[in-house]
């Protein structure tokens, strides 16, 4: 079954967001990693830049296809997860194994806390996944 933790917020483009103060940690959901299949490369191209909500912050390359990662919230991209960038071993595979933990992608300093209301809660995201699965 697809895991959707209740304490996180979600986007329609299958990112998850963990909000702690004015910092948002961003990753892709369990559903997204399963759809993408084996992830082989990740790049956070917007590291150190200010982004608007829904702007691409980087991309994720899987065996099947390459997809953009979108900013769930506006703000400055402070940090990218170095453990998934390492060139040796199967580093990006961490996203497949632990999408909500060690496989996080980047951290954003939230510019506008009002935007948080536009994110989906776990129930709304579960609905979205259900619809996608029956596509």
């Amino acid at each position: 079954m697809t895991s959707i933790p209740t304490e996180l917020r979600y986007t329609k483009t299958h990112e998850w967001v963990k909000i702690e103060g004015d910092i948002a940690t961003v990753g892709i959901t369990d559903f997204a990693q399963k759809e993408l299949s084996d992830i082989v490369y990740v790049e956070i191209t917007a590291l150190g830049k200010k982004v608007q909500q829904n702007d691409p912050v980087g991309f994720i390359e899987a065996v099947k296809a390459t997809s953009d990662i979108y900013a769930p919230l506006s703000g400055e991209v402070l940090e990218a997860n170095v453990n998934i960038h390492k060139a040796e071993g199967d580093a990006p595979g961490v996203i497949n194994r632990d999408p909500y933990g060690a496989g996080w992608l980047c951290r954003i300093r939230i510019a506008s806390s009002e935007e948080i209301n536009s994110l989906l809660d776990h129930n709304a995201y579960a609905e979205l996944v259900k619809r996608s699965e029956h596509h």
Partner: protein, 480 residues
């Protein structure tokens, strides 16, 4: 272990596959000409003629290719390449010609390029052409750079190129590489360009719309005239990705529909080798208003002579050394001359018929997310087999066991678990039936014997590869 050793492993000192005749001109020292550039140890393989021939024959047996079997790779138009193309391309008058030879001594080659250009213009409905680009994606880049130059010349600052989500993946890449911002246009549930979305995205910042028609679902944009009119109202240009020209060859001329420019894939529609079999060729045809920006030089004909026009101040410059992939142009020219106008039309008719026959036969066995009648290719989805733990990748791998190349999978991105099938016109009914039966057997195996799929391929020289590991631990060096 590799099923075939490389030539470097087969190498033994002193073996030769070719002996040169006795020297009949004075010998010159390479040191005098190359100096420091001369490498002492080149480590080139040394093999006998029989070693060499056997090596390549064995590789061709291990490989899958269009001379060996069906190759329904959607979007790639892997049609059979007639062998007469190879005969003309090997004529010594062409192969022994140097590209820097004087025009007076290359009239035949220039005439061929000129006439090929005229044929392609007539087929597509455009006014001028370059044969230079080396492939479809380079054709796109050439086209979009011309679009940029067109607006620069007009003094208009346009920054955006619109690309529908049903376009080829290279389109947004070409847009980005040309310095534009690529903005995606969503398709309707029918799989066509959404005219309302398009209108909303239009502004005087938009330089161009890049259309793949028929799109990657094989669907013809029935509103294409209106689409071109909308773009022209905003002063924008419309680019056609001509990769799918096989669907309407000799039937529809994109220039008449209102397109400003397009690229043509000679290696798809005009039967020149590709897919590891040869270099590509992506001529770009344009309307009059874009002619000044064509890459230099352009082949011209006047006063009974063919010549190369280098005096083109507004040209975007060169896209490739010399004159493009010349012997590929010879092959495409031969193909067009062999088919003639009626033959070209039959190509499209049979390509469309074959794709739709497959669609009808496999409907209900695989999901068909877009139900409009396609042209030359059909996109199924393997979603209905997911419940048995089988993915589209497994279906594709299993087809290899039937001696059939897998279709394009997981593309277009708007179809989950996509299987994109393009049979082309060169397959017989028997070969298409063989494919259909294989697809039916695979679907039934997915229910009763999924391991056959999950472990496939079972009979190929190399079994299933660990693609994720190959990408994560990329190693492309030969270490002896």
């Amino acid at each position: 272990m590799s099923p075939e050793k490389s030539l470097f492993e087969l190498s033994r000192p002193g073996r030769r596959a070719w002996s040169l005749p006795e020297l009949d001109v004075p010998e010159l020292s390479l040191d005098d000409y190359l100096g420091d550039y001369l490498r002492e140890d080149n480590s080139l393989p040394e093999v006998s003629e029989s070693d060499l021939i056997r090596h390549f024959v064995r590789l061709s047996i291990l490989n899958h290719h269009v001379d060996k079997g069906f190759y329904p790779l959607g979007s790639c138009t892997m049609k059979y390449n007639p062998k007469i193309n190879e005969q003309t391309a090997r004529l010594p008058g062409f192969t022994q010609l140097h590209p820097m030879e004087k025009e007076t001594l290359t009239q035949g080659a220039l005439q061929l390029m000129f006439e090929l250009g005229e044929y392609l213009k007539e087929i597509t409905g455009f006014d001028a052409i370059t044969l230079q680009p080396a492939a479809g994606a380079q054709g796109e880049l050439t086209g979009i750079l011309m679009v940029r130059k067109f607006f620069e010349k007009k003094g208009e600052n346009r920054t955006v190129v619109l690309v529908p989500d049903s376009a080829h993946g290279t389109n947004p890449a070409s847009v980005t590489l040309s310095g534009f911002q690529s903005v995606q246009i969503k398709s309707t549930p029918d799989g066509l360009i959404d005219l309302n979305e398009l209108q909303r995205a239009c502004s005087d910042c938009v330089a161009c719309l890049m259309v793949t028609n028929p799109n990657t679902l094989g669907l013809f944009e029935s509103e294409i005239k209106t689409i071109c009119e909308i773009m022209h109202r905003y002063g924008a240009l419309v680019y056609l990705d001509g990769a799918n020209l096989n669907a309407y060859l000799g039937i529809h001329r994109p220039g008449d529909a209102g397109f400003d420019l397009m690229h043509i894939n000679l290696h798809k529609t005009f039967s020149t080798p590709h897919g590891g079999g040869g270099p590509g060729s992506g001529p770009v045809a344009v309307k009059k208003h874009l002619e000044p920006f064509l890459p230099s030089p352009v082949v011209k004909f006047s006063d009974g002579k063919y010549w190369l026009d280098y005096n083109r101040p507004d040209s975007i410059g060169r896209m490739l050394a010399f004159h493009g992939q010349f012997t590929i142009l010879v092959r495409a020219y031969t193909y067009i001359r062999m088919l003639g106008a009626n033959g070209s039309k039959e190509v499209a008719e049979c390509a469309v018929l074959n794709a739709n026959y497959i669609r009808k036969q496999l409907e209900g066995i695989y999901d068909l997310p877009y139900t409009r009648r396609p042209l030359h290719e059909v996109v199924f989805s393997g979603t209905n087999l997911k419940q048995f733990g089988v993915k589209t990748l497994d279906i594709a791998k299993r087809l290899l066991d039937y001696g059939i190349h897998a279709p394009t999978v997981y593309f277009p991105l708007i179809v989950p678990e996509a299987l994109m099938i393009e049979p082309t016109e060169t397959e017989s009914l028997e070969s298409i039936e063989t494919f259909i039966n294989a697809m039916k057997e695979i679907a039934s195996d997915a229910r009763t014997n999924p391991n056959n799929l999950l472990n496939a391929p079972l009979t190929t020289p190399v079994r299933r590869l660990d693609e994720a590991r190959a990408s994560r631990q990329l190693d492309v060096n030969f270490n002896g």
